[in-house]
């Protein structure tokens, strides 16, 4: 059951502004945006456009890097990661739609490091559920959401992007 739908345009505007300030403060020029499949790619595409970045965007599928693979199995349709330019020495903005435990971001960073050592990684997420299990936190956040037990959040898209909050049926 869907109990709420939030439009994300305002959140993306806020993230763009915060990222611009963040990059300026850190003196980061020409960063490379990498989105985590699937929702993170949609958010990354929007940020790539609003930040008017020249460098082509990267896409990560972290399925082969998940730490719960032996418990959950492998999704049979894993798409390849695409990093169009070298990551070695680059400043990277890693983008996901929802930050929960931090395990997806950890897996994504492991994968990025398999391609080379970036100069820095900035984490941007549309929603932070504040349920960290690892010392991973975002530098730029669209909105912090504290969900009730049994509530779930999902980004739907790619056009238009919306956040759906639903209650799990018992």
């Amino acid at each position: 059951m869907v109990s709420g739908v939030i439009k994300v345009d305002a959140l993306l505007e806020k993230m763009t502004l915060e990222l611009q300030n963040y990059l300026k403060a850190k003196q980061i020029d020409n960063p490379m945006i990498i989105g985590i499949r699937t929702g993170g790619v949609w958010v990354a595409e929007a940020l790539q456009k609003s930040l008017e970045l020249d460098s082509p965007m990267g896409v990560l599928d972290i399925a082969f890097y998940r730490d719960d693979f032996t418990r959950m199995g492998l999704h049979p349709k894993v798409q390849p990661s695409i990093l169009p330019t070298a990551t070695e020495g680059r400043h990277i903005i890693l983008v996901d739609d929802v930050l929960m435990s931090g395990r997806t971001v950890r897996a994504a960073m492991n994968e990025i490091f398999d391609y080379g050592r970036p100069a820095s990684i900035t984490l941007a997420t549309l929603i932070d559920l504040n349920r960290r299990e690892l010392p991973v936190q975002a530098d730029v956040i669209g909105e912090v959401m504290l969900l009730d037990a049994g509530e779930r959040v999902k980004l739907t898209g790619p056009q238009p992007l919306s956040i759906e909050i639903s209650k799990r049926a018992d």
Partner: protein, 338 residues
């Protein structure tokens, strides 16, 4: 020979996931498709600059080859290494068993090294099944060819190659040509093709190289190559062992080539878009003409590439199935202790 039970009682866990990979026989279309889908993901990954993923990091894979093999052993080794496993290669035919050690003793020795997976090739049909039944829980067994019985990863890499080039199996007429009698590859191919829904599976061979009652597997039998190839979409050649000639099942290599070797002339009987496959290594001028083997319809090298991806898929799926089963057992024990 080892006695056999229903293979799926042992190769699937209680949730229907792959726990060992012993045979394509009896596996569902859904599971075979899942293997192909997973392998497809690994094909894409192998085209990337970094060809290694951490799925089996910390796991130890032992390649136990009781029968010589270069190609299969090396693709299994590469597949395990691309999954970040530690790999131990043992050619048992020249070591332990030659000193009188039994299969069970060899197994127990390997288990004591805390191995997580055995990739086994053995000349006795059913040896891998026996190993899977007797191995410590949480160790996966992958069949890399047993006697005349099965070579399931070879069959699945063939299925992947067909699917990549033909898409849907349902309209396909497929011919398997050569030494059907001694071929574990042919048996596994037939089971996989029938399960995946190929319209027609034909076997083409001389009477001396056809098993009795092969029709019971749901195939059409041809002893004439030109008739058998008529309008087929896929031609799968088999390797001819030279010792068959010595055991007088065939008059000569030249005679075999004349009647059953795949030449461009014979291939004209097949569908104009027909693809040609061979598990390798090929005997040029015995099973296949060089012009066909190296020609535009040949997918022999694609098969080698797909072999690594299929073996990565099967290894990762069976390791995951082992863990899920172990968890289920642990949960059962915990609930019964309460």
């Amino acid at each position: 020979m080892f006695e056999q039970q229903d293979p799926n009682q042992i190769q699937l866990n209680s949730e229907g996931q792959l726990k060992h990979f012993l045979t394509t026989e009896g596996l569902s279309r859904e599971l075979l498709s899942e293997i192909l889908d997973t392998a497809d993901s690994f094909v894409d990954m192998s085209a990337q600059q970094v060809k290694k993923v951490p799925l089996l990091r910390g796991k130890t894979v032992v390649n136990l080859f009781f029968e010589a093999s270069t190609r299969t052993a090396s693709t299994f080794e590469l597949a395990a290494k691309r999954l970040s496993a530690d790999v131990l290669n043992l050619n048992i035919s020249t070591s332990s068993t030659a000193k009188g050690e039994t299969l069970r003793d060899t197994l127990m020795t390997m288990e004591a090294m805390h191995s997580d997976m055995f990739v086994v090739r053995h000349s006795d049909s059913g040896a891998q099944h026996y190993i899977a039944e007797n191995v410590t829980p949480n160790v996966a067994v992958i069949n890399a060819g047993d006697g005349r019985h099965a070579h399931p990863t070879q069959a699945m890499l063939d299925m992947l190659t067909i699917r990549q080039h033909k898409g849907d199996f349902s309209p396909l007429k497929v011919a398997i040509v050569g030494d059907i009698l001694h071929s574990r590859v042919a048996r596994s191919q037939i089971h996989a093709l029938r399960t995946l829904g190929a319209a027609e599976v034909r076997v083409i061979a001389p009477h001396t190289l056809l098993p009795r009652h092969i029709e019971a597997l749901g195939v059409q039998v041809y002893t004439d190559m030109n008739q058998g190839l008529k309008d087929v979409d896929v031609v799968m050649m088999l390797r001819l062992q030279r010792e068959r000639m010595l055991s007088a099942l065939l008059p000569s290599e030249a005679e075999f080539y004349k009647l059953y070797g795949l030449s461009e002339d014979k291939l004209k009987h097949a569908h104009p878009d027909a693809i040609v496959m061979h598990p390798g290594p090929i005997n040029r001028g015995v099973e296949i003409e060089s012009a066909v083997a190296d020609g535009p319809r040949s997918l022999i090298l694609n098969q080698v590439t797909n072999g690594i991806a299929v073996r990565m898929a099967v290894m990762s799926m069976s390791m995951s199935g082992q863990t899920t089963e172990a968890q289920r057992r642990a949960e059962q024990q915990a609930s019964s202790a309460e």
